[in-house]
Symmetry: D2
Amino acid sequence: MAKIEVGILGATGMVGQQFVRLLESHPQFRLTWLAASERSSGKALARATEWRLDGRIPAYAAELPVSEPRPSGAPQLVFSAMDASVAGEIEREFAQAGHIVVSNSRNHRMDADVPLLIPEVNAEHLGLIPVQQRNRNWRGLIVTNPNCSTVVLTMALAPLVPFGIRSVVATTMQAVSGAGYPGNASFDVLGNVVPFISGEEDKMEHETQKILGRFSHDSVVPLNAAVSAHCNRVAVLDGHTVTTSVAFSRKADLADIAHAMETFQSPPETMNLPTAPKRPLILMHEPDRPQPRRDAARENGMPVFVGRVRRCGVLDVKFVACGHNTIRGAAGAAILNAELLVSQGHL
Amino acid sequence: MAKIEVGILGATGMVGQQFVRLLESHPQFRLTWLAASERSSGKALARATEWRLDGRIPAYAAELPVSEPRPSGAPQLVFSAMDASVAGEIEREFAQAGHIVVSNSRNHRMDADVPLLIPEVNAEHLGLIPVQQRNRNWRGLIVTNPNCSTVVLTMALAPLVPFGIRSVVATTMQAVSGAGYPGNASFDVLGNVVPFISGEEDKMEHETQKILGRFSHDSVVPLNAAVSAHCNRVAVLDGHTVTTSVAFSRKADLADIAHAMETFQSPPETMNLPTAPKRPLILMHEPDRPQPRRDAARENGMPVFVGRVRRCGVLDVKFVACGHNTIRGAAGAAILNAELLVSQGHL
Amino acid sequence: MAKIEVGILGATGMVGQQFVRLLESHPQFRLTWLAASERSSGKALARATEWRLDGRIPAYAAELPVSEPRPSGAPQLVFSAMDASVAGEIEREFAQAGHIVVSNSRNHRMDADVPLLIPEVNAEHLGLIPVQQRNRNWRGLIVTNPNCSTVVLTMALAPLVPFGIRSVVATTMQAVSGAGYPGNASFDVLGNVVPFISGEEDKMEHETQKILGRFSHDSVVPLNAAVSAHCNRVAVLDGHTVTTSVAFSRKADLADIAHAMETFQSPPETMNLPTAPKRPLILMHEPDRPQPRRDAARENGMPVFVGRVRRCGVLDVKFVACGHNTIRGAAGAAILNAELLVSQGHL
Amino acid sequence: MAKIEVGILGATGMVGQQFVRLLESHPQFRLTWLAASERSSGKALARATEWRLDGRIPAYAAELPVSEPRPSGAPQLVFSAMDASVAGEIEREFAQAGHIVVSNSRNHRMDADVPLLIPEVNAEHLGLIPVQQRNRNWRGLIVTNPNCSTVVLTMALAPLVPFGIRSVVATTMQAVSGAGYPGNASFDVLGNVVPFISGEEDKMEHETQKILGRFSHDSVVPLNAAVSAHCNRVAVLDGHTVTTSVAFSRKADLADIAHAMETFQSPPETMNLPTAPKRPLILMHEPDRPQPRRDAARENGMPVFVGRVRRCGVLDVKFVACGHNTIRGAAGAAILNAELLVSQGHL
């Protein structure tokens, strides 16, 4: 079967590079087109950006030319890792022109007719697509994945929805790769904690409600749960860690909670997608795990790892969750979204 | 006025060294006696321990001999920084023999007749001392200071007690010096978060209730508030950071909460003690502060720094607190306790 | 073809765990036997040690029992990652009993009749084996691999031997995994450089001469070159970096030096061994590479990476080299040595 | 005595902030004037820059207005911490207009008639000032201090000049504060070594020769010694560490070398300057010192610390040196230079 050609909007940043890396040997997609800001356009990728991930720029993409972010010439399926300052308008332009935009940018995540998608959690939110296309008179479409710390929290909470999540207090310890490149100055981060990430708490609080919401009558009804986030940057390279306390409206036995996490499974339409992890959630029983440096990149960085499930003296249950922020929380999440779109016939 | 001679039980560890450093030019105390485990005894301090704090071992203490931890020959006032595996019994032996033991060890903190003391917060708990001496038929006495992360949390909460603290959810990001020496292996901590510190959550949850409790009829009535802690080790040298959400039984305006923190003062009997910070709590208004590396050591490491006071969507108010764990959270806390004992005539 | 059974002496330490990881899917070797100190013996590996490398203990080895380090019951081929305090005698006992001991320990490296082996560099030193067996009246044998920082330096120097290496000044910046576990306290390493590693400079200075020496008339004639090392510990997890200045006895053109490095190849008997890297040395042309975090683990951690080849104003040429210290510098090196022994008919 | 008014060119950067901090309670200088790039001018310092050093912006300077970098209105004595892209011309303009420019910028360091000054080492280079003023027809003047890593190396070498320094091979491990702010991205530095700092090796190689040169007949005769540097960035906040091997033209006994370092003294005209360290060089005898985190900031960050003086198998002697790069290597160095100018009657 011929592979589907794909492009990347915003190919030169931290998440853009992660897309390039992850698409290198993708069984369904072939990367043929790159776009970035004007400064880069016209150059080959290897000249337009310094490779910042481990090792060297993958040879297959080094000589791909970087175009301007305009629809003409772009393949039908494009991933977007553009900066939020420009992503909104450009993504709409692509969707208008018939492209399928699978975006990691925050701009359209909270639009009522745009799916904020985690295939293992809310694949049925794809029901918004016809609504979106009708509303906006688009042939193309936009789907988005959540903010990097939200993915970690939300996947850990997903199996607990049946217990009636009433409220969530979460504290993040976020890796520096989440700030892009150059991101945080090393003089700020070395041996330090920076207890603030602009806009992040708001994203975690609102995206979580939408993601865990129910699709019904052509719209998503947000989960009626209060979420409160404290977001911090720590001296970690990759992998966001989230301590989480949850209160439930139904009586929840601790063993039932742990069991729900341990046995949580993707819906059938997601399970066999190439980028889907074998299990979306991996419950660890060691007393001091998960840890970002030892766990976040395991199994291609796609599961979320949870541990230390125990009683909370204030809410009902508490635990720690951890996931790879530029894979599961960004490029990998978007690629999985695209695979779901393909499998559901949207291409 | 002649200085009071003091000794240190457990002089060779991380907190013991911090005692040596802080006592170097103390206006009231003169360090004349050291004790440590058998392995060290008989040696001068400079040979019994490698100096691990900044710079070199203070010259004044380098040649002090290290004795065995027995009361004979020890001054009346001794600070204890011994390991919990031995501290309990030795401290009792000293108190029995008439010594005033000002301890940083956890062993007696939760004893009903032992003050768990933060002079700025609960100086009236000294009322337990006659009870303790009567109960135990001691001429001496034991007072304790809280666990290092508990001090940070409790001092930040102290001005909020009048609002009726109902529950607290706290996540710590703790410095490696809190684990003593050698403490955490660098292979575990570099670029990582370890989401577990043995026994720490329990200490924070129970010590906080005792510290913020009321002294009444010869005993301390614990604060009737639920506390839930998530404790983590991060790649920070000194300074524990605590994100905190609090619920109140009385309606609390955000500005009132911040004002209570900003104007919080030590009681008169504490204010002028040599080690007391000018203000116990320093409220910072920068959006990304306090930070452990930039703030914890300010003003001799004795205040607790708070910031980001804002609404919590689940409980009522949230903020971040930060303090120096081996000074405010250990050696400095004990020295301040001793100063209070002196000023209250217990010596 | 049936796989060869192998064992590990010292299976619970940092290098021991790296052996377990690397042998998991080895095409020739099957790990069937483990030994460690008395404290561990009798337990399954998963209970005898906490897994400290990324992820979890490999399932295939978790339930292998840990024996005492005695020859009876051990397979013919054993890898040794024992502490130097015990390795010397135990390794001799195994060799005496007919075992092939492939050791990472330092004890026998400088013995005149023991090969200090890097297959890509000095495979002909295997000629010492009959000498060793004759001298010691052994049916078995011992081969060793160099100290972790020495491997990096020596592989970078190997292609330069034909230019007549006269002297070498090297400064290392070594990863914490090189100190084993727990190794360096995080309180010593965070945000710091420790300019001393016990015994390391001496090893680099003498092992290098032996490794690069010529095998002739049943002995190794050390390279007649002065080596001076400055060894430092830095806050890096894995990967030793070595800045190197070299003086030659023959006039060396800079381009010739770089070309010799770039085209350096393993001898035929090594090239196709399963663990041999495609090229032993990878010359990087980026101005700021190699870097330990981005390069050391590439290509299974087996090549040495070099860069910044340029004129030295004092000696003749300078460059930087980098390699993975627990793979190329320890467990991987030993496995490659064992593969060479097998291919040369020593089993 | 009235204090001398001083200004800072480039007050908002990392070194500019260090000037502000060090001048807070200077006994001779009073900071009254600040300048920075256009973007900042017109604002108070507290609004023009985020304070990045420990704690908060010193109150005394927070409301000082930031001017444009033009001589009119500036005090006679100005410190320059401007970026090299603009410093050259602006400094000349100030000197032309009669100002005494004490610069940390690299632009004029190697000018034949500009002193590259370390008061403890080459105070006699001030003899260049009349030459400079004559050459350039200036009423004002420019003096410079060396690059941050050069200071550390040169001060350690200064007492060894009498032994006839013939060649020096040095490897630096440099702190991130040396790159200014934002400087290195944390994604590049965490758990890594970056073996390249643009332009740094050239500076160390040439500045060292000038600094250690002899002033004679109105010019500086550079020291006739080859210097070769390998420069690296490591995950350290403040403090550059330099491993150094030195060859001498005269036979040098190791004890004599160590003794020369240990007893090295400032010349009389420097010794009592307010910022001069008690001893310029502190020789440490611990086997693993100096260390940047534990030593660089000692004694106000002004001495250079040396240790591990031992034989070098290739050159003659080797040792490690360490100093605070933004104090001894930048702002503190410049302030000491200004103090020397004042004491020598140049104001």
